[in-house]
């Protein structure tokens, strides 16, 4: 496997992890614009642990994820008292603050970045990615997934049905933050180097775009979105400076033509020939 191909695949795997980090809160009707912030927490924490305590990356990375999840929990509980866009803005503020904080933290190298001694290759990263995708998929085939979808579709009705709406939103958000932390840990340990500047708001925004582009209604959406977003700019490399222009134009057009994202649950069931009672009724009306 050539170095270029491995590089692209590693990026793809990490982007898929990020996409699921953004997917979980979005599936519960909340927008996290601070994915990069949580990734940077997970990345630096796991790098610090594996550097200083000589812990294996296999342990350090989930640990970084756990720390990012805890921070997510600490933010989600107070901010989720309100609704709508406020959580998105708070996560955005948190992400930028974390980044600025780490730039001034000399113990992890400050603005110069932080070298990481341990190194992991594509197979390990792919394994982690599979784990994350599998976990989210499992989660969404349980009652939890149904509850999250209900909260997303109509908070009031979900509340009337006896679901603890806020608890589900906090849970989805916290898990998303933890997954983002894992993504950051993978990044740090593959590239042997982590710097806070890379984890900017632009990264957070593009991650959210993966999910909204791929579709927020099914677990396959983020996978597809992250794949298209990682590979399309690579394929458009031929046209150098115009590639992001073409890319943005494609995005705008797709949003006009297919605002619900590329794949939806109903569509997949239709393709597989599995029609639920609900779909049939919907078609009858």
């Amino acid at each position: 496997m050539s170095g270029y191909l491995e590089g692209v695949l590693v990026l793809l795997a990490i982007n898929i992890v990020y996409a699921y980090a953004a997917f979980l809160p979005i599936a519960a009707g909340q927008l996290n614009l601070g994915i990069a912030g949580f990734a940077v927490i997970g990345g630096y924490f796991s790098a610090f642990v594996s550097n200083q305590l000589a812990v294996s990356p296999l342990l350090a990375i989930p640990l970084g994820g756990a720390v990012a999840g805890l921070v997510g929990l600490a933010v989600a509980v107070p901010v989720l008292r309100t609704r709508g866009i406020y959580l998105a803005l708070a996560t955005f503020a948190l992400g930028e603050m974390v980044r600025a904080g780490i730039l001034n933290l000399e113990v992890v190298g400050g603005a110069a970045g932080y070298p990481v001694t341990a190194f992991i290759r594509l197979p390990t990263i792919a394994l982690f990615t599979l784990g994350v995708v599998g976990l989210v998929w499992l989660l969404f085939s349980t009652r939890f997934g149904i509850a999250i979808t209900a909260v997303h579709d109509d908070e009031r009705v979900a509340d009337l049905m006896g679901l603890n709406v806020r608890a589900f939103q906090v849970a989805a958000f916290t898990m998303g933050s933890a997954i983002a932390g894992i993504g950051g840990g993978l990044y740090a340990h593959h590239f042997s180097y982590i710097e806070a500047q890379y984890f900017s708001i632009s990264l957070s925004i593009s991650i959210v775009l993966y999910v909204l582009f791929g579709g927020t209604q099914s677990v396959l959406g983020p996978l597809l979105g992250a794949t298209v977003f990682t590979l399309l700019p690579e394929l458009l490399r031929g046209s150098a400076q115009w590639r992001y222009v073409i890319f943005a134009a494609i995005l705008i057009v797709v949003m006009v033509v297919r605002p619900q994202g590329l794949v939806t649950g109903t569509q997949i069931r239709r393709l597989l020939g599995l029609r639920s009672e609900f779909d049939r009724k919907e078609q009858a009306t």
Partner: protein
């Protein structure tokens, strides 16, 4: 002075979120368009008032294009969709600018000589003063338009509830583009002021400023125009003070820390309306 630019960008954002419940991410792009257009025209020898006016016109026109793709054709879509499209427009505008003019930092020529005005120890630069007066006049005009005119009333009805507004005979399809034009004008104005005062433009100049504009809007309370202005000044002051007392490295920590604190303690912002908070 930077505070007043944040305030103007904040006004553009707050108008969009107050009326349309839509965080318009293309506004930082429009800010950049305002600044870059000013630079391009001045470089080609246009006098600065013409460059500034054309930049405003280009900003408003670009905002109308954004309206088509994020609002007109998307009214039935999910709430996140306009947000995505407006982010895509930001990427589009930035990279178009890179494709045409390269990604380097460009400097706008000094236009006003040494036009500083000294009162005792206070140094006031004339272009800054003129910029400040211009923006106060425009914001005052906007405020009067919203409260006094028939169109302004229609606009505020849409802000309350767009379906009811439609039922009451408000021409939503005519007023919504107007909101985009106004916010495009304000974003471009901020860009022009930035270009003329700081004499530097580049394709990605909108990002950092747009983020500060969002902070200004939230600190003041979303949907509240005067709140955005006070918020912009607070953010500007917070920056200046943290540079003075903690050093330049801590600017972002203190600005975004302030934003996070306000969101946790008083999510509707300093002057926010509790109802907007519940419905936004």
């Amino acid at each position: 002075m930077l505070g007043s630019i944040y305030a103007i960008v904040g006004v553009a954002l707050t108008l969009s979120i107050g009326v349309l419940k839509f965080l318009n991410f293309s506004i930082p792009g429009l800010f950049m368009i305002g600044g870059m257009t000013t630079w391009v025209l001045i470089r080609h020898g246009a006098p600065w008032p013409i460059a500034a006016l054309s930049a405003l016109a280009v900003g408003a026109a670009a905002s109308l294009v954004v309206e088509r793709f994020t609002w007109r054709w998307m009214r039935t879509a999910q709430e996140f969709v306009p947000l995505v499209s407006s982010m895509a427009f930001l990427i589009l505008f930035e990279n178009l600018a890179v494709a045409f003019w390269g990604s380097e930092l460009q400097s706008v020529p000094q236009l006003f000589g040494t036009s500083d005005w000294r009162i005792a120890n206070l140094v006031i630069s004339i272009p800054q003063l003129v910029g400040l007066l211009c923006s106060v006049a425009m914001i005052w005009g906007l405020s009067a338009f919203l409260t006094r005119t028939r169109l302004g009333r229609g606009l505020r009805t849409i802000a309350e509830d767009s379906n009811t507004a439609l039922l009451l005979g408000v021409d939503v399809n005519r007023i919504v583009p107007l909101v985009f034009v106004i916010s495009g004008l304000f974003a471009a104005l901020a860009g022009v002021l930035f270009a003329l005062n700081y004499r530097q433009v580049h394709p990605f100049m909108g990002e950092a400023l747009g983020l500060k504009g969002i902070s200004a809007m939230v600190v003041g309370g979303m949907g509240n125009i005067w709140g955005a202005i006070v918020g912009g000044l607070i953010i500007g002051l917070a920056e200046a003070f943290s540079i003075r007392y903690f050093g330049a490295d801590f600017v972002d920590i203190s600005v975004y820390g302030l934003l996070l604190l306000i969101l946790i303690v008083r999510p509707t912002g300093l002057f926010g309306d509790a109802r907007t908070g519940a419905r936004a």
